[in-house]
Symmetry: C2
Amino acid sequence: MLKEWEKSEKPSEEEIKARLEAVKEKLARQQLLIKEKKVPVLVVLEGWGTAGKGYAIGQIIQNIDPRFFKVVSMQKKTEDDKRKPFLYRHFVKIPEAGQFVFLDTAWMDEITEERLHGTISEDVYANRIESVRRFERQLTDNGYLVMKFFLHISKKEQSRRIAQLEHQKDTTWRVSKKDLWQNEHYEKCMDVFSGYLKNTNMPSAPWYIIDAKSRKWTEVQILETLTQGIEIALSNHQMVVPLLQNVFPLKKMPLLCDIPLDKCMEEDVYKKELKQLQQRLGELHNRLYRKKVPVIIAYEGWDAAGKGGNIKRITGALDPRGYEVHPIASPEPHEKARHYLWRFWTRLPRTGHIAIFDRTWYGRVMVERLEGFCSENDWMRAYNEINEFEKELHDWGAVIIKFWVQIDKDTQLARFTDRQNTPEKQWKITEEDWRNRDKWDAYEGAVNEMIQKTSTTYAPWHILESVDKKYARIKALRIVIAELEKVLD
Amino acid sequence: MLKEWEKSEKPSEEEIKARLEAVKEKLARQQLLIKEKKVPVLVVLEGWGTAGKGYAIGQIIQNIDPRFFKVVSMQKKTEDDKRKPFLYRHFVKIPEAGQFVFLDTAWMDEITEERLHGTISEDVYANRIESVRRFERQLTDNGYLVMKFFLHISKKEQSRRIAQLEHQKDTTWRVSKKDLWQNEHYEKCMDVFSGYLKNTNMPSAPWYIIDAKSRKWTEVQILETLTQGIEIALSNHQMVVPLLQNVFPLKKMPLLCDIPLDKCMEEDVYKKELKQLQQRLGELHNRLYRKKVPVIIAYEGWDAAGKGGNIKRITGALDPRGYEVHPIASPEPHEKARHYLWRFWTRLPRTGHIAIFDRTWYGRVMVERLEGFCSENDWMRAYNEINEFEKELHDWGAVIIKFWVQIDKDTQLARFTDRQNTPEKQWKITEEDWRNRDKWDAYEGAVNEMIQKTSTTYAPWHILESVDKKYARIKALRIVIAELEKVLD
């Protein structure tokens, strides 16, 4: 893409000055609308070393109130980053609604570096591209404006800048080994950059190649493109996004009403099995720690179905240094202001660790759907978005185990009443539980749809029949053990 | 302290079982009160390698609902940690109100390791102890319950456990080099541990030494001590904390009413100076980046005093990769639930970077004081707490520059009216600004007290006379340049 690109003629100094003046004012006005309409804006600056990405960002932000933006420079991967999925460190930085985030190089830089130095295979590269395309599309589908700029300079111009920077003591440090390497291997880099730009040039988040030879002209090109993008985003704000077809293989699952709930277990059998299974799970935990396998266990189910007690029987077998339970309530304001998966990305386990979610990202297609916290288009899109999210985790090497804890309506009533009447259990029952109970049928419909649409082969749902909680606990332990054995043996 | 310690007799198995049963129930009841009374509980487990810290935490948390606690294991310092003050990675982990945090080793482990391996000098060690004492006292003064346990075993017992773990393939990895080193240098470690415990044994956060030879007995000792601590904390909850005398040297400062506000600057002089000073600041920014000096610039001042424009003239000179502006509004719920300095600790710059705060931690002694968001005891204590906080930053090597942007009441009125009448400025003025204006005299009193009590020699206030904004901008630039030159030249 870079190779076919032809630069347009640079205007006169006077024209540049006038256009710069005009576009700065435009941006200053737009920042208030961005705030007001709660649009999140992600601006990515990529490009050749010494092309002036930092300088350009420095100029742009002069026109924006500091309350409305953040600048994030790419840092070396930390040990923690290395133990998270590839997209983790990028996903966590996305702006909140009404804010700008400027990225001084981002995932393109990371991927093309890996490609140039052969640290990833063709296959991994292809996967990365797929991940990036999904990631950017999920952002734009969820109302993000994503503006991607590539600052382009010629080999000759790059050499000139390197020489100039090296000339002065205070700027020598700005010339990195990477800049020198790029300049030496300019054609090879050009190939890789061009390929990447082409592969990730999508209608909802296209690439803009910027002629970066002159500083002021660079600024004009970026600002004019950015403000045009904002203009479109502001008018598109309430647009309905097309639903993508799910491309992941699904497993056939039963409807909730077809699941027999008469399963139970004797107390003494339970006690014996529990002890054996917990010991086995403890051993496996040690091994997955050593083998650095990340594990994600997701619990959903009816109120009072017995999620808490079930989770306790899992954690009772685990070393507390190697797992974390994340109870998921309604999002905090800074979480609500971002993509709904953000607060789960930030809670992913490191490799070798287990994260247990007590309620999950499936809230999108249950409570958020039924209470109208998101639009119809939002939750209908979410099945595929969630399948993509779990695919990402699966490709990273995670074991994903999803439990639906099932009881019938009568059992729930009995447990609610018991909670109501037992002083030390009263905190567990709220008005909201009763209100949700009134919507049982609507929830059942939503859960059925969810289970059908998100039981992928790589992350299927498991039903835990929990009228007898003992039965459900033993079943959960067995499933967890079986799934871990699959990857560890 | 460890050396003088004598273990009490271990009770019979039966007694242990009965006591364990009783104390578990007690903790299960207390967790709800902790939640209800919003007490934050920090439980620190330190001790010999293989003493069973992880196991003990695993047992304790079985009695607490996963929504009410977090377990944090100490990790190797990341590159980012190394570029933050020593206490940073510990401070950011403190629990929020109504929650438990269990630390599987913490700052004691870090400091004693450094001491044992001679990576810090006597002086630095003494400073660390001072920091820890202040840190823990600030937590308990602000309503935190801090429970510190040291799990003690003999040299012989440690050898036995190491041998046992090494015997099995799946547990070999649990024996660290550190455990082996400790066992080899048991007496030396004993000296250092004992000294540390003594130095940091404070009435509000004492050390509890636990005989950790038997697992169940260990659990009983910890749980009984912890539940006693919680009992006291729950009844002390609204206690008034003694005010500590400020031990830091203060600079004499003028009262606001004695500051002449007639300073001004001609447009052409301003333009010329601005250009020169910004260029100089840009050069210094490069140098402090290379020398890895962290810089903190704090802005406070009247509404409409011109803080925003002043900050812009500073940032206009800086490379955006090396600074961040933090606009400080009222705290988010997860911030409000923690020590009021937490949200500033989490925003500290890395070494070599500049953090600019548009409003700051001084909110505690201004808006929070005057609007009654904290108690009288809270804000009266805050002067010393803030001086301690800034001392910590200073000792870390940070340059701290604090600006009070000063105007008179008439100037404010003129600017408010102008904002009101200019469409593109209207977002800058709110009802709250007018309400604050009505309290001008109360604020002036609070600001005077704040400036007198927190102008330490290492972090004094600078007054920016900002009736003429140009004058104030140039003065700010000059001060920042002068302060940076002091450390860079």
